[in-house]
């Protein structure tokens, strides 16, 4: 398979999944098998065809359709997009397995619709990853929003309707008001929206640069930059597999990926360095980073706590991109990977606790660790990775981000990283501590049964192991991301 074909197969393969799921809806086991097989196939295409091609220096390009003169949908793969695609597709099969266990364990309705929308959202994420120009990225960005809406409102009750309103209102509102504005502006200023190494906005008047950057940064509300972050906690009303893959990986990473990609390939690092136009974004991201961590400390609802943690961790990536030093951008790219594996582990565990023990508040977790050892063991590893402690993946991205702050000669940011890591200890460790601190009285077990269904336990264990593996196998990833830098 040529890399150009592989782009299409990977981006639209999930649509095949969606069709198969729709056809097999009546036989749940077959339906899930279809998802697992096709999702693994998509991952195999990305890892087996696209990865070697990009490593070899190839930048596969494919025109999809010319909408009108000067406006075309096209795919061009470069290292950053490949990294995002690898993350999304590698975690998709695992999450599908988990989702099957979770939905059945919870007795959720409309499971077929769930898996269809899930596949559509993945297709959208891959479209974002492969986008060859800002317009294509915008199209798939909106596709993600629309396809995840039924997932967020899956329950169909009053609460999910309200959350859905917030979700759609913020994501779509900002993308139409700011992002579309930015896309048209870019097209007008540069005559193209193609992602080009070194950027395309060299001729933009200097005082316009920060403004356009602001339109991009706030228009991409999926990156959950304050003050447009509220959709993320609201989306926690969705079933946990959605929170896990979409609101820890695909959707939010599509946001930070967009910002990073635009910084590198539309503005160009050099332009931003000389104009200093991203300095304000450093400040906004720093504020988001810190305040979201503080808010997370006070959340008793486990999923909400993780959501605020996500907001804070996303700000790391935006901050890395905004620092525009080579190492910081590389760190931002790495953090997309390491945070994905860490945070999906945590969400998997939170969901397993909901399914196995019917608890969703941190204050209810006392002693549960002894009864769900695998789940909380994985939670511990995920937490350590998020905090940035070796030998887990998160340590590397923080290392590069910190180095990037030094390279950008921004020492206060270094301090900020330390403080926020401490805060991460503060909001994640109590969960583990509570779970293991007290040993429960075995006599209470009978009237309070706790189970660990294997489909909900295996995935977090796998991703937790992934955190460990990535720590030792980070070199190829770094080498790949160095291709992003000029």
């Amino acid at each position: 398979m040529s890399p150009e074909t592989a782009l299409l197969v990977a981006a639209f393969g999930p649509l095949v999944t969606a069709v198969l799921v729709a056809l097999l809806g009546r036989w749940p086991n077959l339906r899930e098998a279809a998802t697992l097989v096709t999702s693994t196939g998509v991952f195999a295409v990305v890892a087996g065809v696209l990865y070697p091609a990009v490593v070899a220096g190839d930048r596969p390009h494919r025109l999809l359709v010319e909408v009108m003169a000067g406006l075309e949908l096209s795919f061009t793969l470069e290292p950053l997009g490949l990294v995002f695609a690898l993350v999304a597709t590698s975690l998709w099969p695992i999450t599908s397995l988990y989702a099957a266990g979770y939905l059945r364990g919870h007795g959720e309705i409309n499971q077929t619709r769930f898996f269809i929308c899930f596949a559509l959202a993945i297709s959208g994420a891959l479209g974002v990853a492969f986008a060859g120009n800002v317009f294509t990225l915008f199209v798939f960005y909106e596709a993600i929003t629309l396809s995840t809406f039924p997932l967020v409102t899956h329950k169909g009750d009053e609460a999910s309707m309200r959350s859905g309103r917030t979700y759609l209102g913020i994501l779509m509102g900002t993308s139409i008001c700011f992002l579309l504005f930015a896309v048209v502006w870019t097209q007008l200023a540069a005559g193209t929206t193609d992602f080009t190494p070194g950027g395309i906005l060299g001729d933009l008047p200097e005082h316009h640069v920060p403004l356009l950057l602001a339109l991009f940064a706030f228009g991409t509300a999926k990156a959950a930059l304050m003050p447009f972050h509220r959709w993320l906690p609201a989306a926690m009303v969705a079933p946990t597999p959605v929170s896990a893959l979409l609101h820890a990986v695909a959707v939010v990473k599509a946001g930070v990926f967009t910002i990073t990609k635009v910084v590198v390939y539309v503005f160009g690092l050099e332009t931003l360095r000389t104009t200093g136009a991203s300095q304000w974004l450093v400040a906004v991201a720093a504020f988001t980073l810190l305040s979201a961590s503080v808010v997370a400390l006070f959340q008793d609802n486990l999923k909400r706590r993780l959501a605020y943690s996500t907001i804070s961790q996303l700000a790391y990536i935006v901050l890395g991109a905004a620092l525009v030093s080579d190492r910081a951008v590389l760190g931002a790219g790495l953090h997309i990977v390491t945070h994905a594996f860490g945070k999906i582990t945590l969400f998997f565990c939170a969901g397993a606790v909901m399914v196995g023990a019917h608890r969703k508040y941190v204050s209810q977790l006392d002693g549960l660790g002894w009864r769900m050892p695998f789940t909380f063991g994985a939670f511990l590893i995920g937490s350590l990775s998020i905090i940035g402690i070796p030998p887990f993946a998160g340590a590397w991205s923080k290392w590069w981000l910190a180095g990037g702050a030094l390279e950008a000669e921004n020492v206060p940011i270094l301090g900020l990283y330390m403080v926020s890591s401490l805060l991460a200890v503060g909001y994640l460790m109590p969960v583990v501590a509570r779970a293991f601190a007290t040993r429960p009285d075995p006599s209470t077990f009978e009237d309070d049964p706790v189970s660990e269904p294997w489909m909900c336990v295996l995935p977090p264990v796998v991703t937790a192991v992934g955190c460990l593996v990535i720590f030792f196998g980070i070199d190829p990833m770094v080498a790949l991301l160095e291709g992003v830098l000029p």
């Binding site: 909408v67 003169a69 629309l146 409102t153 309103r165 008001c177 504005f181 048209v184």
Partner: protein, 502 residues
């Protein structure tokens, strides 16, 4: 024109411009003579599709030759009556005849439930007359016949609206009649003044002679009268007060037709007069018409959308949304650039597709539930899944989600605004899209999240309505993905409007 040696086909092709006006005009009295609902429907449908084919053929000729001039009765312009088809009105003709054909094909079931059977033949006759008027207005090459056809289309649309099942249809129609007559008279007044100044009625001739006359006070008054008259028919704020009630109380299929066509033709008349008769130099540089139209367009966009947000009846909600969309078109016109004007023109086409599709959805719901109130939409996601899905598609297009026609329009308009560094205008365009998100999602939400309302029974709409509805909305998606034909034609039309008369 037709010489004895020519075969039938040649004769038909030669006379296409007049045929599309004559056919429905002749068919209308036949409908009355037939006195049968079904027979008159069959006739009207056949004529509508033939017209559709004719406008397609005309478009091809215009694309090949640039323009097409037809001398009625072989009296050459500027003395005789000329029908003149250029890219811009070829587009309008196609919109009118295409939408008319789809809507009339779909209408029997909806008509059965909304209009007494004894009046169906009258409905079809009025419908055909309305098509005559609109097509005539769009193809007339002289100012006086623009007025004549305007009156034909207006009178027939008053009677179409009055056929609505609610008694308020009568008052709405009457109100439209009063205001519409004022608008028509105003146009006639303007045309009279122009004739006084130049001694001609032919539009091309008028345009040339006005250059010599220059911006006199008489010309200014004429322009004011024509602009006021046509914005009244166009329903631009503050002269659009007739529209919401007329759309709400008219039979659903009439609304679907009129919303997609009547205002579009009025827009064409306005654009034609401003750009080709008065010329941008007089209209914008001397009289600063854009300083009036631009704020009104922006106000329409926002106010229409705000009213829609608070509206509880979906049909009226869409009518308010039309007010807002008319603002978009007028905005394109007042940007005075090829991009802006092309945006306005492409939005004519795009809005016609999506809004008639959405009104058809309402027609489906009214047929099944008997109401267009928002309560009737409760729980329709499960009870009328295809209808509701159609609403979602049309709604997304109205919002301007990429890969729908709404996005294409917005892209042009925002680009047009940014080209002239009108940042606030671009912001208003995008801001009003947010309002569209709110008013569309309000309906989508109740459709999918609310339990069905006990007062309203519902089951899926019949295919005879669903297929045309989906045809229109599939068009709204198709031309959002493959936008080259529409945007190309709109750009061509905008260029031909911007440059001086050939």
């Amino acid at each position: 024109m037709s010489e004895p040696s020519m075969g039938f086909t040649e004769v038909v092709i030669e006379n296409l411009p007049i045929l599309q006006v004559i056919l429905p005009l002749m068919a209308a009295p036949v409908c009355v003579l037939l006195r049968s609902g079904r027979a008159s429907w069959a006739l009207a449908t056949a004529v509508a599709w033939v017209n559709c084919a004719i406008s397609w053929a005309l478009l091809q000729i215009v694309l090949r030759d640039g323009f097409l001039s037809y001398a009625v009765g072989d009296w050459p312009a500027p003395w005789g009556i000329e029908l003149r088809i250029e890219p811009v009105n070829a587009l309008v003709l196609l919109i009118v005849s295409g939408i008319a054909a789809v809507v009339i094909t779909a209408c029997p079931r909806s008509l059965d439930s909304e209009v007494p059977a004894g009046r169906h033949y009258l409905f079809h006759a009025a419908f055909l007359l309305c098509i005559t008027g609109l097509l005539g207005m769009a193809s007339a090459g002289d100012a006086f016949n623009v007025f004549v056809f305007l009156e034909i289309s207006s009178l027939s649309s008053y009677s179409l609206i009055a056929l609505g099942r609610h008694r308020r249809a009568l008052t709405s129609s009457f109100r439209y009649l009063i205001l519409g007559t004022l608008g028509g008279t105003s146009i006639l007044f303007g045309v009279g003044l122009l004739y006084m100044s130049t001694g001609t009625l032919n539009l091309v001739d008028l345009g040339q002679r006005l250059q010599d006359v220059g911006p006199t006070r008489t010309v200014m008054v004429a322009m004011a009268a024509i602009v006021v008259g046509s914005t009244l028919k166009l329903a631009l704020l503050p002269l659009g007060a007739w529209l919401p009630n007329a759309y709400t109380f008219a039979p659903s299929t009439v609304t679907a037709f009129l919303a997609a066509t009547a205002t579009k033709v009025a827009f064409y008349v306005l654009a034609r007069f401003i750009y080709r008769v008065f010329s941008p130099a007089i209209a914008f540089e001397t009289f600063h018409l854009d300083a009036v139209l631009l704020p009104l367009a922006l106000a329409s966009m926002v106010l229409g959308a705000v009213l829609a947000v608070f509206e509880k009846d979906v049909k009226r909600l869409l009518a308010y949304s039309s007010l807002s969309q008319i603002g978009y078109m007028t905005l394109g016109l007042s940007l005075v650039s090829v991009t802006g004007l092309a945006g306005g023109l492409v939005h004519l086409f795009n809005h016609a597709l999506m809004k008639s599709g959405l009104f058809m959805v309402v027609a489906c719901v009214v047929l099944r539930t008997g109401s267009s109130r928002i309560e009737a939409f409760h729980g329709l996601g499960r009870r009328m899944p295809f209808t509701m899905a159609a609403f979602v598609v049309g709604g997304l297009s109205l919002i301007g989600v990429p890969l729908t026609v709404g996005f294409i329009s917005k892209w042009f308009l925002v680009k047009g605004a940014l080209e002239q560094e009108l940042w606030p205008v671009a912001a208003v365009i995008l801001g009003s899209s947010i309002l569209a998100v709110i008013y569309i999602w309000k309906v989508v939400e109740v459709g999918y999240f609310k339990e069905p309302h006990p007062d309203f029974e519902a089951r899926e709409a019949p295919l005879s309505l669903l297929i045309p509805t989906w045809l229109l909305l599939a068009g709204a998606v198709y031309f959002g993905i493959f936008a080259e034909p529409t945007t190309g034609l709109a750009t061509l039309a905008a260029q031909s409007l911007m440059e001086a008369a050939p």
